[in-house]
C-alpha cells in the first residue's frame, strides 16, 4: 500500500491548516455561504438534512488496520458511533459538527488520510477493482496508476473549478469490470497492445444522474507513460468547453455527446499534441517507484487446501454456502479472497458501527496482512486469507454480522442513504432495501436466482446506481407522496447498459411484491444457464410488464 513520504505529509498538514483558516473565516462571517461552499465541499463537507456530512477519502478503496481504528475513534469522538461505506469506495460520517471538521481532518492526516476532493466540482477519488493485485487474470495491478492519478489530481491548480464533478475509474481485468468504468467521466481499461506494451483504452463521458450514459471509447490504446498528459488534455478541453450555464448539462458526458465522441476525441488529440512531451509525461522510473509500494505481502509457500475445505464444507452447510458465494479465487495457491458483506437485513447497506470498524481492523491484522479494501458494492474485502483458516474466519465473522452469504445475489443491494439522511431525496431508500431483503430471506432460493444487481436511489442523482442495476429502483415524488419507479436491464459491467423503465411507479408497500413478480417471470422463462440479465435481454421487457401490471 502507498506510504506517505515527507512531501505528502507536508502537503496534508498544510491542507489542514488551510481549512482551519477557511473554517474560522466562514464562522466569523468573512466568507459568505456561497464562497465557503466549494472550499468545504473539496474538504468532503456537505450540509445535510440532519447535520453536516463528511465524506472521507479512501483512495481506490485501500485501508490499513490503523486507519480503520482511527476511523472508529473519530466516529466515537465526533459522531454517533457509526459510519457508512459509499458506492465510490469512500466512508461517510453523518453527524459531525462544522467546527470540529478541522480537528477531524488533522486526526485523519496523522494516519495518512484526508477528505480532499471527495465532493465539489473537481477531480474526485479514483476508484478501481477491489480484487486488484490478487486476481489471476489482471493485465497489471492498477493501484500504482490510481495513486499516480491521485497525486496528479490532488490540488491541481487548473482543475479545481470544473463545470461539474469529475470521476475517474481504472479496471485491470479484461474479463470482469468491478469498477464500473463505463459509467465514469473517464474509464480507463488496462490493455496490452500487439507489441505487449502496457497502456489504457480510454472511455470518456459515462455517468449516471439525470442523463445516464455509457462512456464511449475515445482512444483504443494510450501508452502508460502518456497517462497524465492525456488526462490533462481531456480535462483541459472539458474545463474550457463544458457547459457552465446549466448544472444539469454540465457533466462531460453532455459535451461528448454534443461534439460526438469522434469530435471530442479530435479536440483532445489536438490539445494533447502540444503537451504530450511536457514535464508531466511519466517516466519509467516514476512508475517503477510507484509499483514498489504495491508489492506482494510476505505470502507463505502453500498448496491449495482442497481436501480440507471439501471436508469442512461437507460437515457444515452454512460454511459451504458462504464459501461458494463470499469467497473468491486468489492468484496464490493456498490463499483466498474473502468479502465481508455489510448487507445484513435490518442494517442499512454499507453502515458499520465503531465497534465493527475495530473488528474489521482486527480481522485484517489477524487474517490479511493488516489491509482491507472497500468495494463499490458497499462491502469490505480481506484480500489475502489463508485457505486453511477460512473456517475459523467464518466462525469469527458470523456473529459480527459480516458473514451473510448473499454476495452478488438479489439481497446484496446497493442503496443510497435516501430520505432518511439526504436533503435531496424524493423518497426513502433504506426501508425499501430492508423490505426486499425480508421478502427474500431464503438463501437457497437466492442462490437459485443467481447473480442479480438490485440498486436503489432515492432520487435522480443516482447515488445508488439504479440505472445500472439489473433491477433498478428510483424514488420519485408524486404530489408529495413517495413512489418508486422500476427499471430493468441495466448493467455496470463490461456489457454496461442503462436500464429501461418498466412503467408507472409503485407505492412503497407494494415494492417487495413487484420485485417478486419480476423474479417470477425470470424463473418461469429462464433456460438452464441464463442469469437474470441474459433472460431479460432475450425476452425483452414486455413479459415483465404484463405480469407486474396484470
Amino acid at each position: 500500500m502507498y506510504v506517505y513520504d515527507e512531501h505528502d505529509r507536508q502537503m496534508a498538514a498544510e491542507r489542514v491548516a488551510q481549512f482551519r483558516d477557511q473554517t474560522r473565516r466562514a464562522l466569523a462571517g468573512e466568507l459568505s455561504e456561497e464562497e465557503f461552499l466549494p472550499l468545504r465541499l473539496q474538504n468532503g463537507l456537505y450540509v445535510q438534512r440532519h447535520a453536516p456530512m463528511l465524506r472521507i477519502c479512501v483512495p481506490y478503496g485501500m485501508l490499513r488496520s490503523d486507519q480503520l481504528r482511527r476511523l472508529a475513534r473519530i466516529t466515537r469522538d465526533y459522531d454517533k458511533g457509526y459510519a457508512h461505506f459509499t458506492t465510490r469506495q469512500n466512508v461517510q460520517l453523518n453527524w459531525p459538527a462544522l467546527e470540529d471538521v478541522p480537528d477531524i481532518l488533522a486526526d485523519l492526516a496523522e494516519v495518512e488520510m484526508h477528505a480532499n476532493q471527495t465532493s465539489g466540482n473537481c477531480i474526485r477519488n479514483t476508484t478501481t477493482d477491489q480484487f486488484s493485485g490478487v486476481q489471476a487474470d489482471e493485465i497489471a495491478d492498477p493501484r500504482p496508476y490510481c495513486e499516480i492519478i491521485r497525486q496528479w489530481s490532488t490540488f491541481h491548480p487548473e482543475f479545481a473549478f470544473l463545470p461539474r464533478k469529475f470521476k475517474v475509474a481504472v479496471n485491470a481485468s479484461e474479463k470482469t469490470d468491478r469498477a464500473a468504468i463505463r459509467i465514469h467521466d473517464i474509464g480507463l481499461q488496462m490493455v496490452r497492445n500487439d507489441a505487449g506494451e502496457l497502456g489504457f483504452r480510454v472511455h470518456v463521458g459515462g455517468g449516471l444522474g439525470r442523463t445516464p450514459m455509457v462512456g464511449p471509447v475515445i482512444r483504443d490504446f494510450l501508452p502508460e507513460l502518456d497517462l497524465l498528459t492525456y488526462l490533462e488534455a481531456v480535462l483541459r478541453v472539458y474545463n474550457r468547453y463544458g457547459r457552465r450555464d446549466n448544472k444539469f448539462k454540465a457533466r462531460i458526458k453532455i459535451l461528448v455527446k454534443a461534439l460526438t465522441p469522434e469530435g471530442f476525441a479530435e479536440k483532445v488529440e489536438a490539445e494533447w499534441a502540444h503537451i504530450k512531451d511536457s514535464p508531466t509525461r511519466l517516466t519509467p522510473d516514476a512508475i517503477e517507484r510507484m509499483k514498489g509500494f504495491f508489492t506482494e505481502p510476505p505470502y507463505e509457500a502453500l498448496e491449495n487446501a482442497m481436501d480440507l475445505l471439501a471436508r469442512q464444507r461437507f460437515e457444515n452447510r452454512g460454511f459451504d454456502q458462504w464459501l461458494s458465494h463470499n469467497v473468491d479465487v486468489h492468484k496464490k495457491p493456498g490463499y483466498a479472497i474473502v468479502t465481508l458483506t455489510l448487507k445484513k437485513t435490518g442494517t442499512p447497506p454499507g453502515d458499520v458501527t465503531d465497534q465493527q470498524l475495530e473488528q474489521i481492523a482486527d480481522l485484517a491484522d489477524e487474517y490479511s496482512f493488516g489491509e482491507v479494501r472497500v468495494t463499490h458494492h458497499q462491502n469490505v474485502v480481506l484480500a489475502d486469507v489463508r485457505q486453511d483458516r477460512l473456517l475459523e474466519l467464518w466462525e469469527t465473522i458470523t456473529p459480527m454480522g459480516f458473514g451473510t452469504a448473499n454476495l452478488n445475489t438479489l439481497t446484496d443491494i446497493i442503496c443510497c442513504p435516501g430520505g432518511d439522511y439526504c436533503a435531496l431525496a424524493n423518497a426513502k431508500s433504506i426501508p425499501v432495501a430492508e423490505a426486499i431483503q425480508r421478502r427474500f430471506d431464503d438463501l437457497d432460493y437466492l442462490y437459485d436466482l443467481g447473480n442479480i444487481d438490485l440498486n436503489i436511489s432515492g432520487c435522480m442523482n443516482a447515488c445508488g446506481h439504479h440505472h445500472v442495476g439489473n433491477i433498478g429502483v428510483l424514488g420519485v415524488d408524486k404530489k408529495g407522496e413517495e413512489f418508486y419507479q422500476v427499471s430493468l436491464g441495466g448493467s455496470s459491467h463490461h456489457d454496461a447498459d442503462i436500464g429501461k423503465i418498466l412503467g408507472p411507479s409503485f407505492a412503497r408497500e407494494d415494492m417487495p411484491e413487484v420485485i417478486a413478480k419480476i423474479i417470477d417471470v425470470y424463473v418461469d422463462q429462464r433456460t438452464e444457464e441464463e442469469e437474470f440479465l441474459d433472460t431479460y435481454r432475450r425476452i425483452g421487457i414486455k413479459p415483465f410488464k404484463e405480469r407486474v401490471y396484470a
Partner: protein
C-alpha cells in the same frame, strides 16, 4: 489608486483600468490619462491603431479564446483574465495557455470575482498580479498565497512535478 496584489503577496498601487466591452453601437471608452485593458478581440481589430502603445493591454473573458493573439502576446505590457464568478475555472486554463503555449512573459492579472482562497491556484497557473474583490481583506492575501510550500504537479510555476523531484 486601487491596490493590486503581487505574486509574493505584497501589495502595490496601480492605475490600470478595465474597459468593458461596449454595447452595440457604442465605442470603446478608453480613458486619456490612465493605462487601460481592452477586450482582446477589439485590440486585434484595431491593431494598426493600438500596436506599440504601452498604455494599452487586453483582457479576456472566461469564454474567450486566447488563441486569437497567440503570436502577438509579448507585444502587450499587461493581460487581464476575467473571472466573472469565482467558480468559473476557465481562466486557469487561459492563463496556462498564455504562459506555457504562447510564451507570454509580461504581467498577467486576475480580474473580476477574485477572492482570497483562489489566489494560490492562480499563482500556479501563471498569474502574477491579482485585483482582489474590494470587500476582501487584502492583508490576508500573503497567507492565502503561501499555505502550500509545494505542489504535486508541473504547472506554469514549475517544470518539475513531484514524481520528477522524487527521482532526483
Amino acid at each position: 489608486m486601487p491596490d493590486v496584489i503581487n505574486a509574493d503577496g505584497t501589495i502595490r498601487q496601480d492605475n490600470w483600468v478595465v474597459v468593458p466591452r461596449p454595447e452595440e453601437g457604442e465605442s470603446l471608452a478608453i480613458p486619456s490619462d490612465q493605462p487601460a485593458l481592452i477586450p482582446a478581440d477589439l485590440w486585434l481589430a484595431g491593431y494598426e491603431h493600438f500596436a506599440g502603445n504601452d498604455q494599452i493591454g487586453v483582457w479576456f473573458d472566461s469564454h474567450d479564446e486566447p488563441e486569437i493573439i497567440a503570436d502577438r502576446v509579448n507585444e502587450l505590457p499587461l493581460i487581464g483574465v476575467n473571472f466573472p464568478r469565482f467558480v468559473d475555472g476557465r481562466g486557469y486554463s487561459i492563463a496556462r495557455l498564455l504562459r506555457e503555449r504562447f510564451g507570454y512573459r509580461n504581467e498577467l492579472r486576475a480580474i473580476g470575482d477574485v477572492l482570497l482562497d483562489q489566489l494560490q491556484f492562480m499563482k500556479r497557473c501563471g498569474f502574477d498580479s491579482y485585483a482582489l474583490r474590494p470587500d476582501k481583506d487584502i492583508n490576508h492575501a500573503a497567507t492565502c498565497l503561501n499555505f502550500f510550500s509545494q505542489g504535486y504537479q508541473a504547472a506554469t510555476d514549475t517544470d518539475l512535478p513531484l514524481f520528477r523531484r522524487r527521482a532526483g
